[in-house]
Amino acid sequence: MNEMLFPIAVFFAAAFTNNILLTNYLGMCSFLSVSKEIETSAGLGIAVTFVMALTTALNWVVYHLILVPFELEYLRFIVFIIVIAAFVQLIEMVIERYSEGLYFALGIFLPLITVNCAILGASLFMVIRDYSFITTFFFGLGSGIGWFIAIMAMAGIRQKLKTAKIPVGLDGAGIALIIAGFMAMAFMGFSGMITIS
């Protein structure tokens, strides 16, 4: 594929065909617990997108400039986790100080995101798939937007569910998981459009 277009292709693939939530099932815990209201889901979705785009890029730098030269690739799990946690903490402090609006929109979600496996997942995929820096940034951004789309769709459905009759045993997480399954099947419709390995 054209060198210039590849990052764009990866971006769309990450958002749709290889949606990190619905095809890889990463980031499930916050997806299930915070998807009850559209407004909070949007806040969390935006925060995930923001953090994912920046941390995957940052982790690319750490990986290729520190871990690879020292042949310490096997340490990437722990290093990525440390970098993500510290970065999120720093971002939270900066946002709290300088942007009240952004802090109110994202602030309470940021600590939640540190432990979101989708964030770590994106960084690890970036290594496995051997992306360049630019591609990595678009991959992170696309994955985040894919996660955002998935949680927004889920929140929309769950708001409708409030008035629906659900069998007692399935109420709550049960029905949410079934819906996630249907959504994943629906997203399979995108497969084949673009492929990234």
Binding site: L75, M93, V94, Y98, F104
Partner: protein, 367 residues
Amino acid sequence: MITTLLISVLVITAIAMVLAILMVIADATVGNYGEVHININQKKDLTVRGGQPLLKALNNEGVFIPSACGGRGSCGLCKVRVIEGGGAYLPTELPWISDEEKKENVRLSCQFKVKNDVSIMIPEELFSVRQFETKVESLVDLTHDIKQVRLKLIDPPTIDCKAGQFVQFQVPEYELTDEMVYRAYSMASIPSDNTHVELEIRQVPNGICTTYVHQHLKEGDTVSINGPYGDFFLRDTDRDMICIAGGSGMAPLKSIILDMAEKKSTRKVRYFFGARSKRDLFLLDEMKAIEKDMPSFKFIPALSEPLEEDNWDGEVGLITDVVGRLTENASESEAYLCGSPGMIDACIKVLKELGMPEERIYYDKFA
């Protein structure tokens, strides 16, 4: 082999160190809000370190705002009017703030951080809230999971409170908490004994304060409390009273009833106490003694699941059913409830169905 090990350790340490240094720098620059001023009721001026929650800043300066959850944003009690320097509401405050309160700039002080000079309004009586140094005089097991803690006030030596109010118990750092926390408990003691405070504390699995009290606290230990707080106290009317409690909800009602008995009240009081089985009942003798002392008082314990060995011949059933069955003249009475949120909500529903106006139902919900 050794070199690989050394390199990996060094690299990880270096990365962690760089990040830690960045955080320290950020904390000192971005996270440093300098000193800010808090003006209270246009009377008192405090200078505090910026960036901390208002509740904590006030607490450190000896102004105590009631809070049952200890600043986690889960009880909604620590409301304060911020008339200047407030800024926008945080999403964590919104569930507790009504539209009218928004117009008055009411904020949840445990969530609102003081980053610039603010001016706030608090009820005058909160100035009379004091921090007390006390000594544990006795610890008594009331049931298998409720302990009675009797505290002797040392400094200041007396407390001026109303029956039914609560105090906050300060839990120091120990294995379950790495910072000092406060938890609210109702006083079970009679207000006329103003040199002592009695609390009834039920063990909650992994509860920070309850575990501390049940497993670490010993007679002779010193304990800090602050108070009194709360608007759960006897209203000055002569309506018949219905009191309902469960578990450690006994505490404020015991205080109210002891106070009434001492003042030779003739109001008709029915006190329904709900428990699962006989081992959850306590203070039965004390209640009998009050019944003798105050003929208009009747204590009605009810068991929801009496065991066979209990040989129980009293009331059986959920407390709501027993109240529904035995209450007459609800529309002319008033009610005082204390217990878990589930119990209180169910009891309010029953009392309203019996015809009691909602504004005459007073309650103290565990948060």
